[in-house]
Symmetry: C2
Subunit: 333 residues, 2 copies
């Protein structure tokens, strides 16, 4: 063997070691997770599916992990953050809509009576979403979301909404990716509400974000093609819609899925029904002090049937208070 | 500086050189493309968007390239290959459907009169597709496609359909990926008809395949979740549908798009309307000997308006006869 080739092989071998990433030499990949069965389950699962030659080995192309967003990657109380966005939009748009003064649910909203406005139920919600999320081009909507997410603050914490993402989940996303997983968001939230900021905040690019959507229409405006957002529901990515959305966007079954509510149950069922090693995890909100505590009786993020099924099937359940050293990134500083 | 660190830096530098991939040291990345303006345009575009510090530099995350499938990545004559699949399915399913003997378009099909069957136009086509593509689970349909694509042969060439992919386009896909591009299929064909084999044939994984679809429904069968394919159109990924599909699945605008027909025109318009360097290419079928020649008057893969717009806007047009040394991979052997 010529020295040239020997050097090449050594370099390639060293490259392989370095390319294996932090997991190969770093310490704890999940420093914000307390030691215990939950952390152990995660690390054991990742260990076995990445161990070549093991019967549980999964090739990189099949390492698909899907994450719910609201309540799983960031908080969702006292209401879904996208709803704060919609309410801020109603206020911002009110001068162009004098008729809203006398029209529910807008009249209540503009008086600050959110509860009254939402008393109209699903119909009121859809009206608010359509008025605030449709009627502009996709590019215009993206800019509106970017501007809002950069400045809007949560009423209780006073933090930016993107500061209310869960530090332990950020570590989990990074840990999975360092081990060859492709991470996806599969959320009931609006796909175009998430995409402008998920890459920066979660390291998840737009093409790996799946969510609910309204219809869009291609048209030419002044010789320029645009996509116009129409006041018409296209897809609801929740409950039985989640496996449908996963199939439509990913086209293969995840081997790991992460959620926090009954809205994620079908995603976890779909994921765990596949052949070979599977991982399902529920985040249980148990921390009244650092976050919120809610489950079976909450109107937001209800975890009831899913909780029973998790226990029956031995899925991993995070006790937020117990298992997470910190909730938000800023607690670390 | 400690020797340990010096070594580390040298190794990392060498890794960076090796990781730069074939393009950094290989010869011609497009050996099946004849020298000429088309090949030059492609290589110049890739060169400028990948050159750090250049005003045209595009970061890796934004290097999205979308490819039509029928007539762009593989042949589509004398009819779309998915139609051969549908016709074979009609024959295979006929014993379970005695009523087809007297029912159009099935009666004609079963007598081998394809033209007569398709005389029923879109309605007949949709009936054939729904009968053959719906009514089973997604897993069952995937297996049907896998079995068919592994054995079915083209009536004229006697080759497997997957042997009728274009060698120059395989090289182009690989060349783009070696330069940090993420390659997507954006086809009017069925998304679930393509996904079972695109990774093996084109190196494009299921999550990067966008196509037309019928609706699916999540349900439990014997305690196991399945997705059932319904006889109901969900999305037509053609013409003005292509930018909609791109936006829905990718969530950002491609910087390069490749097609061969008027069905791709809106995708090329959408792609080239973005800021910064853009690339649009049409494959023009001009080779009666090695493939087929057709454009403005073809019912399959018509290239008329798109041809005019390509000339007006200076898009790159492949003259298949002139620009491609070989058409199919087997010609190389």
């Amino acid at each position: 063997m010529k020295p040239y080739r020997t050097h090449t092989i050594i370099i390639l071998a060293l490259c392989a070691i370095f390319a294996a990433g932090p997991s190969a030499y770093a310490g704890d990949p999940l420093p914000s997770w307390n030691e215990g069965p939950v952390k152990k389950n995660i690390i054991e699962f990742v260990g076995k599916v990445t161990k070549e030659g093991s019967p549980d080995f999964v090739p990189v192309s099949e390492r698909i992990a899907t994450f719910d967003s609201d309540g799983t990657l960031w908080s969702e109380q006292p209401m879904y953050f996208q709803l704060f966005f919609a309410l801020d939009r109603v206020k911002a748009m009110a001068p162009q809509h004098p008729e809203w003064k006398d029209k529910e649910p807008f009249a209540s909203l503009l008086k600050g009576e959110v509860k009254g406005a939402l008393a109209g139920g699903e119909k009121a919600m859809i009206e608010i979403v359509m008025e605030t999320h449709a009627g502009m081009t996709t590019a215009e909507f993206e800019q509106i979301v970017r501007d809002w997410i950069a400045t809007a603050k949560h009423p209780k914490t006073g933090k930016l909404f993107t500061e209310m993402v869960y530090q332990p989940m950020l570590e989990l996303l990074a840990y999975l990716r360092a081990n060859g997983f492709k991470t996806f968001i599969v959320s009931g939230g609006g796909i175009e509400f998430m995409r402008p900021w998920t890459e920066k905040v979660y390291g998840i690019p737009p093409e790996q974000v799946i969510g609910s959507s309204i219809s869009t229409k291609f048209e030419m405006r002044d010789g320029k093609p645009v996509l116009v957002r129409l006041p018409e529901i296209n897809f609801i990515d929740d409950k039985a819609g989640k496996p449908v959305g996963i199939n439509s966007h990913i086209g293969r079954r995840p081997i790991a899925a992460f959620g926090n509510s009954d809205g994620d149950l079908q995603m976890l069922q779909w994921t765990t029904a596949g052949q070979g090693p599977r991982f399902a995890l529920y985040v249980h909100h148990t921390d009244t002090e650092r976050e919120w505590a809610y489950d079976r009786n909450s109107s937001i993020g209800r975890l009831d049937k899913g909780f029973d099924e998790a226990q029956a099937k031995g899925w991993t359940v995070v006790d937020m208070k117990q298992d997470w050293k910190v909730i938000y990134p800023h607690e670390e500083r």
